[in-house]
C-alpha cells in the first residue's frame, strides 16, 4: 500500500484506473510519486505532461498540474510550459511510441536544448492500447499484430539516443527495481537540465502473450534475469550483452540549461523590469 503522503497525490475520484491487472505502469507511477513526496514538491507547482497511449493515462490519476496532450507532442507542450514559467517542476511521462516514433523529433530537440524537464519513458516495447502493434523498441524477431512474422527493423536504444542528442542526465532501470526507478527519477528531477529516465515495463496483455511472457510475473522475472548493471556491462562483450538490459546512470553532465540561458538574455536586454 502506498504511504499516506503518496496517497495524497492521487485523484482517487477518477479510479478505477484503465490499466490491465498486473500492468507495470502502476509501479512507475508509484516510483514517481514517492520521488515527488521525498523531494517535498508541491502539487500546485508540479506539472506532469503526457502523450497518448496507456502510459499517458497516468497523469489523470495524479493530483497535480496535469496535461494529457496529443500523441508524441507532450515534450513540445512541456517546453512551452517550462519556458513560460521556469519555476515549475516539469515531468513528462511518455511511452515508447510517444518518445521514439511519432514524437522522436520533439524528444531529440528537448535533449539538444537541455531544457529542465524530466522525461520518464515507460518502455513496454509495444503499442498496447491499440492492440499490440510493433513499436520502434520492439526487439527484432518479436511478434506483434503488425509484425506477424517477427519484427525485422532494429530497435532504438533510447538512452544512447538521448546521450547523442545532448541530454544532461540519462538512466535506465526496469519495473523489477522500483527503488532504483525512484532514485533515478529523483536524480533526474534534481538535475538542472533535460533528464531521461527509461524504465522498462511490460505489457503482458499485448506483448507478453505473443512472446512467451504471458503473465506479469514472467516479465518481472525476465527483467530480473536479464538486467546487467552498467559497471558489470563494461566488462562484457557486445555478444554477451546482446539480449541484456543494461541498467544504471549513463550520463551525468553539467551543461547550460535552456530557460536559465533565456532568462539571462531577458536580463541582458532589460526585460526584467517589465514584469510578466
Amino acid at each position: 500500500m502506498p504511504s499516506q503522503e503518496v496517497f495524497n497525490w492521487l485523484r482517487t475520484r477518477f479510479f478505477p484506473h484503465i490499466w490491465c491487472p498486473g500492468c507495470g505502469h502502476g509501479i512507475i507511477m508509484h516510483s514517481l510519486l514517492r520521488a515527488l513526496v521525498d523531494l517535498k514538491k508541491k502539487k500546485t507547482e508540479t506539472v506532469i505532461a503526457s502523450g497518448i497511449g496507456c502510459s499517458s493515462r497516468m497523469v489523470g490519476y495524479i493530483d497535480a498540474c496535469t496535461v494529457h496532450t496529443t500523441h508524441g507532442r507532450s515534450l513540445a507542450f512541456a517546453t512551452g510550459i517550462k519556458l513560460a514559467n521556469p519555476e515549475l517542476t516539469v515531468v513528462d511521462v511518455m511511452g515508447d511510441g510517444d518518445c521514439t516514433a511519432i514524437g522522436g523529433n520533439h524528444f531529440i530537440h528537448a535533449c539538444r536544448r537541455n531544457i529542465d524537464i524530466t522525461a520518464i519513458v515507460m518502455n513496454n516495447n509495444i503499442y498496447g492500447m491499440t492492440g499490440g502493434q510493433v513499436s520502434p523498441t520492439t526487439p527484432v524477431g518479436s511478434l506483434a499484430t503488425t509484425s506477424p512474422y517477427g519484427a525485422i527493423d532494429p530497435s532504438f536504444d533510447i538512452c544512447k539516443l538521448a546521450e547523442g542528442a545532448g541530454a544532461s542526465y540519462v538512466a535506465r532501470t526496469t519495473i523489477a527495481n522500483p527503488k532504483q526507478a525512484e532514485q533515478f527519477i529523483k536524480a533526474g528531477i534534481n538535475n538542472k537540465g533535460f533528464s531521461v529516465v527509461e524504465i522498462l515495463t511490460h505489457c503482458h496483455t499485448q506483448f507478453g502473450r505473443r512472446n512467451k511472457r504471458r503473465t506479469p510475473i514472467d516479465n518481472v522475472n525476465f527483467f530480473k534475469a536479464n538486467s546487467v548493471p552498467l559497471n558489470k556491462a563494461q566488462e562484457m562483450s557486445p555478444e554477451e550483452l546482446a539480449e541484456k538490459i543494461v541498467v544504471g546512470e549513463f550520463v551525468k553532465r553539467e551543461i547550460p540549461e535552456y530557460t536559465a540561458q533565456y532568462l539571462s538574455i531577458i536580463e541582458r536586454v532589460g526585460g526584467l523590469k517589465n514584469g510578466k
Binding site: T44, G60, F77, T79, G80, L83, N85, L88, G271
Partner: protein, 377 residues
C-alpha cells in the same frame, strides 16, 4: 509605441499582438509569415516575454498552448503548409479550451505551392481543418492598420471565449507597407482570462459560470491543480464515455460561438443602401473590389461593397438582409471558389451569386472586377 509607423502587415500584426499583452511566441520559420517570428524574437525578451523557435510547426503550436496553460497570452504564426501541420493541436486547443492566437499568412497551395505569392485558399481549412466539430473565430485583415487592430481583437476574443482564434492574412497584406497610427491602448481595452474565484479545493475546472456559460481558467503555477486532456471530458476535465457528459461538453463548445455570435461578427459595408450589384470580398481582394465599386459608381452603376471582417462566424444574417435588395452578388476570391459557398448558403437564392476566381499567384486588378460588375449590371 510610435505615433505613426510605416509597417508591413506582418510587422503590424506582431506589434499589435505585443500591445494586446502577448508575452509568448513559439513557432517555426515559414514564408511569408516569418517576419512575425523575427519581431517577436527581438521584442519579447525586452518585455520579460518568451520566444522559442521550435523543431517543427507541430511543436510550435504545442509550445504555444503550453505557454498559455502557464498563464501567458500566446501567439504562433505560419503559412499554408504549417497551418496544415498545426491542425492537430489546434483541435487540442478547441477541446481543452486553451486561448491562443494563430496567424496564417496565406500563400498558394496545395502543398508547398507558391511560397512567395498570394492566395486565399485556406479559408475553408480555417473553418474545417481540424477533425471534429467546433466553433471558429477567424479574422481577415485587409490593411496594415487593420492587422494591428485585429491582433488586439483576436487576443481579446481568445481570452474572452477560451478558444483558439485565427487571423487569416495573406502574402499581399503581410508584405505590403502602409501608414499605421497605432491606437492608444488602455488596460480596459484588453480582455484578461477569467480566473477562478473558488478556493482550490472547490475548483471544478470545466464547470461553466452560469452567467456566461464559460468556465474560468486557472494557470499552472497559480495555486490550483487541474487536469487538461484532448479526450472528451466532464466538468472535472476527466475523460468520459458517459453519453450525457459527452453531449454536454460538445453542445457547450458549439454554443459558446452561437451564443456570442452577434458580439463576435464584424463586417463593413460601403454604398449598399441603393445597390443593385454587391461585391463581397475580404483580405487583399477587398481593396481591389472597393476600388472597382467606386469606379462602377462613376459609370452610373449602383454597385455596393460588403467585407466580412470575421470570416468565421460568417456575417450571414447581415448579408441575407442585403441580398433581399440587390440583384447580384459578385464574390471575387484568390481561390477556386470557397467563401462563395458560404455566400450562397447565406443568401439562399435571394440574389444571384457570381463567383470570380483567380489562382495564378496574382492579385485581381480593379478593371477585372469592374468588368464583371458591368457584365451583371
Amino acid at each position: 509605441m510610435p505615433d505613426v509607423a510605416f509597417w508591413q502587415g506582418n510587422e503590424a500584426l506582431a506589434h499589435g499582438a505585443l500591445a494586446a499583452g502577448c508575452r509568448f511566441f513559439a513557432g517555426y520559420p515559414i514564408t511569408p509569415s516569418t517576419e512575425i517570428a523575427e519581431i517577436m524574437a527581438e521584442e519579447l525578451p525586452k518585455l520579460n516575454g518568451r520566444f522559442i523557435q521550435m523543431e517543427d510547426e507541430i511543436a510550435g503550436i504545442a509550445a504555444t498552448i503550453g505557454g498559455s496553460i502557464a498563464g501567458r497570452k500566446a501567439l504562433t504564426a505560419t503559412s499554408g503548409p504549417g497551418f496544415s501541420l498545426k491542425q492537430e493541436n489546434l483541435g487540442f486547443a478547441y477541446i481543452a479550451e486553451i486561448p491562443i492566437v494563430v496567424v496564417d499568412v496565406m500563400r498558394g497551395g496545395p502543398s508547398t505551392g507558391l511560397p512567395t505569392r498570394t492566395a486565399q485558399q485556406d479559408v475553408m481549412q480555417a473553418r474545417w481543418g481540424t477533425h471534429g466539430d467546433h466553433g471558429t473565430i477567424c479574422y481577415a485583415p485587409s490593411s496594415v492598420q487593420e492587422c494591428y487592430e485585429i491582433a488586439i481583437k483576436a487576443f481579446n476574443a481568445a481570452e474572452r471565449y477560451r478558444q483558439p482564434v485565427l487571423i487569416l492574412s495573406d502574402e499581399i497584406i503581410g508584405h505590403m507597407r502602409e501608414k499605421v497610427v497605432p491606437p492608444t491602448i488602455k488596460p480596459e481595452d484588453l480582455v484578461e482570462r477569467k480566473r477562478p474565484t473558488d478556493i482550490p479545493e472547490k475548483f471544478v475546472p470545466y464547470r461553466p459560470d452560469p452567467k456566461d456559460d464559460l468556465p474560468c481558467m486557472a494557470s499552472f503555477g497559480d495555486g490550483y491543480t487541474w487536469h487538461i486532456t484532448g479526450l472528451t471530458h466532464n466538468d472535472w476535465g476527466f475523460p468520459t464515455n458517459n453519453s450525457d457528459e459527452i453531449e454536454k461538453m460538445m453542445k457547450r463548445l458549439m454554443r459558446k460561438i452561437d451564443r456570442f455570435r452577434d458580439d463576435i461578427v464584424e463586417y463593413e459595408t460601403v454604398l449598399t443602401d441603393d445597390a443593385d450589384v454587391l461585391v463581397l470580398a475580404y483580405g487583399s481582394v477587398a481593396r481591389t473590389s472597393l476600388r472597382a465599386v467606386h469606379e462602377a459608381r462613376t459609370r452610373g452603376i449602383k454597385a455596393g461593397f460588403f467585407r466580412p471582417i470575421t470570416l468565421w462566424p460568417f456575417p450571414d444574417k447581415e448579408l441575407e438582409k442585403l441580398a433581399r435588395k440587390v440583384k447580384t452578388i459578385i464574390v471575387p476570391e484568390l481561390n477556386c471558389g470557397q467563401m462563395v459557398l458560404e455566400v450562397e448558403r447565406a443568401v439562399h437564392g435571394k440574389a444571384k451569386v457570381v463567383a470570380q476566381n483567380l489562382v495564378n499567384g496574382e492579385l485581381f486588378k480593379p478593371e477585372d472586377i469592374l468588368s464583371v460588375i458591368e457584365e451583371v449590371a
